[in-house]
């Protein structure tokens, strides 16, 4: 089938519109982060002069003490909770997809049930409990509630993914002369890894974007993550909005996310299992 030029043009236009719509806020933030304090209210979309003032502020200036520890906290806490969630969810999903045991559907229902509770209703009791047992304002004190956010969705996505893996391939490999471990490593792992990576990225985003737990369960830079830290930014004087600094910080925290997606893009190849079995 040859592409119809009219149709192609239409698609390009629609694509551009969507791209503009989606990218507009990001461009705006970028532009905002490059405006100097006096330029913020210039009533123009673009800065009058490009200024790195805001970036200096968060990395070396006044906001430095607030931002840098928060960045380290965020990266550390999110990576740990993602790792734990993915390892636990992989084991659970494998069991759910491959084995038959009583209470199998209970696990899935419970995972869903946990994620149904609104975070706001859990924060206050957690605050009390954490204060009593000394988890308040610690990394662990955030990792545990983050797991309650990331585990259910990881279990669900991985279970759905594992169900699609044609497990006969494991048997085929054994007939072809593989040991059970070789069959797992050479056949199952390559097929399962895209699902695991996708899940890891989703889990990381969820933890990375959390604000409510971050603001409620921390009080110092010992564990405060970036989204919470942003709310503590102040302008140079009382009457100045910290919008520029916040924008710069927002850009900086987006970068790790983009790097992670680019890094794992190769692994997330959809439809990798098609063609294995007929039907």
């Amino acid at each position: 089938m040859k592409a119809n030029p009219k149709k192609t043009i239409l698609w390009v236009i629609v694509g551009l519109l969507i791209a503009v719509y989606a990218l507009f806020p990001i461009v705006w933030i970028v532009s905002l982060s490059m405006k100097s304090a006096s330029d913020i209210a210039n009533r123009h979309f673009w800065p009058t002069n490009i200024s790195w003032e805001n970036y200096q502020l968060i990395f070396t200036g006044d906001a430095h003490d607030l931002f840098i520890p928060a960045l380290i906290n965020s990266i550390g806490i999110c990576l740990i909770s993602t790792l734990v969630a993915v390892v636990l969810a992989t084991l659970t999903a494998y069991a759910v997809a491959r084995l038959d045991f009583p209470g199998k559907s209970l696990i899935l229902t419970m995972a869903l049930g946990v994620s149904i509770f609104p975070v706001i209703s859990l924060v206050t009791p957690l605050f009390n409990v954490w204060s009593k047992i000394g988890l308040y304002d610690t990394w662990l004190g955030l990792i545990i509630p983050y797991l309650s956010l990331t585990l259910p969705i990881s279990i669900w996505t991985l279970a759905a993914f594992f169900r699609q893996i044609p497990w006969e391939l494991e048997q085929a490999a054994q007939v072809d002369g593989a040991t059970p471990f070789q069959a797992f490593r050479k056949v199952i792992v390559p097929l399962a890894s895209p699902g695991v990576f996708t899940t890891a990225i989703i889990a990381f985003f969820i933890a990375w974007n959390d604000f409510l737990y971050g603001i409620s369960l921390t009080s110092t830079s010992a564990a405060r993550p970036v989204p919470a830290a942003l709310s503590f930014f102040t302008g140079a004087s009382q009457f100045e909005e910290p919008a520029g600094a916040i924008a710069a910080a927002a850009i900086v925290v987006t970068i790790p996310v983009i790097i992670i997606v680019l890094l794992f893009q190769r692994q997330i190849v959809s439809g990798l299992t098609s063609g294995a079995v007929k039907g």
Partner: protein, 423 residues
């Protein structure tokens, strides 16, 4: 190259249902054996037990005289084409075929792997697809990749589980010839599961007919066709299937709804002690249009007269359908048989495959001619074939074994080594 012996093999799944029950088979070195049976009769289960993917509940399985019940699949040295191909989707066609060779660490050099893969690909006409992924191939190409993976190493035996079931008629025919030629040239012991009559009759040196996990008969296709042991085998082998008619055994003759006839002297003796009501089996191709039979032959045969219900003209043959009334007892036996055979027609009728020159049309009253020597008679209770001739069966078995040996020698003399073998 190996001999596979199954002795009293039983498979009970978790729920205690015997999927395979007391099956004993001897598959000789280089033999091509077909497993047939209706859906759910335990064919795949049997194959999976041979290859080692399913535990054997009872009985013993040996390969080359060594008991292998508890040997891991990879140590049995068999290769298998799965019912659903089971290709590795993340590997190219080349790597899929090379997979078993790469697993045998240190046994094959890279050049040797390359040589074998290319040879297999050439034979299966996959040469131009070697660098593609399975997802981008057609069903027939995928099937050939699965086949390539099975034949690329020197397996002791090939196991095929309905490998052609998803192909169209033309490709199926093509692959059938290909498999047959390949098996003869390689001379590798092969077990092949199929639903397809043509595959069963043309490919196999021997056919094992299963019904609900129980082995009914294990013999050459010719013997199954000419000397089936029971009603089930008789009805399963042949297309269109054998006609079954209720007959009354009275006064030395058999009385059917279409007319009476008597069997030749030797065959009739088998009815001593049999019940009065019997089932006669006549294959559609054994009927002829009375009008077209030479007068000197007419006397030797028997005659059925009936009204034609439907005719189907296929070019090389004319099928005519003739309904009849059966009494309750026979009807029950026929219906049960029909269920066993996965049949959908519960109509009591006979089908005759006549010469295309016949002028019979729907609604005509016609006369059918047949030779009573071709009629089989079954006990409706037990299903046993009362007219089976063991001497003839033995003769047929010997002849098919001789034919197999000759075909094997010829093929190996011609096309020495296809894949594998020593250089």
């Amino acid at each position: 190259m190996s001999e596979i012996v199954l002795e009293h093999i039983v498979k009970k799944y978790g729920d205690g249902f015997p999927a395979v029950n007391d099956v004993s088979l001897t598959i000789a070195d280089g033999e091509f054996v077909i497993l047939v049976g209706p859906s759910g009769s335990g064919k795949s289960t049997l194959l999976r037990m041979i290859v080692g993917l399913e535990d054997i509940s009872d009985g013993s399985l040996s390969i080359d005289g060594k008991r292998v019940n508890d040997v891991a699949p990879r140590e049995r040295g068999l290769s298998m084409v799965f019912q659903n191909y089971a290709l590795y989707p993340h590997l190219t066609v080349y790597e899929n075929i090379a997979f078993p060779l790469r697993l045998a660490k240190g046994q094959f050099s890279d050049q040797e792997i390359d040589r074998r893969v290319n040879q297999a690909a050439q034979m299966l006409e996959l040469g131009e697809h070697l660098q593609r992924k399975p997802a981008n191939l057609s069903g027939g190409q995928r099937q050939r990749v699965a086949m390539g993976r099975a034949i690329v190493r020197d397996a002791k035996a090939f196991l095929f589980d309905e490998p052609l079931s998803n192909l169209d008629a033309k490709l199926r025919g093509q692959m059938r010839t290909e498999i047959s030629r390949m098996q003869r040239t390689l001379g590798t012991t092969t077990v092949y599961v199929t639903h397809d009559q043509t595959e069963a009759m043309t490919l196999g040196d021997k056919v094992a007919v299963l019904k609900r996990g129980v082995l009914q008969q294990y013999a050459s296709p010719k013997e199954l066709y000419d000397e089936p042991v029971n009603l089930f085998v008789a009805g399963f082998i042949g297309s269109p299937p054998m006609n079954f008619l209720p007959v009354q055994n009275r006064d030395g003759a058999l009385h059917s709804p279409f007319g009476s006839f008597s069997l030749p002297e030797g065959r009739a003796r088998a009815f001593d002690g049999a019940p009065e009501l019997l089932i006669a089996g006549i294959r559609p191709e054994h009927f002829r249009d009375w009008e077209l039979v030479e007068p000197e032959d007419q006397a030797r045969g028997a005659e059925f007269t009936a009204k034609v219900d439907v005719t189907e003209w296929l070019g090389h043959e004319l099928y005519v359908y003739l309904p009849f009334e059966a009494d309750a007892e026979v009807r029950e036996a026929l219906e049960e048989l029909d269920r066993d055979l996965d049949g959908e027609s519960l109509r009591t009728q006979i089908v005759a495959a006549l010469e295309p020159g016949s002028l019979v049309r729907e609604g005509d009253d016609m006369s059918l001619w047949f030779d009573p020597a071709n009629v089989m008679v079954f006990d409706p209770k037990t299903g046993d074939n009362l007219t089976r001739d063991p001497a003839n069966a033995r003769r047929l078995a010997e002849r098919s074994e001789q034919m197999r040996q000759r075909a094997l020698e010829r093929a190996q003399a011609e096309g020495a080594s296809v894949v594998g073998g020593k250089e």
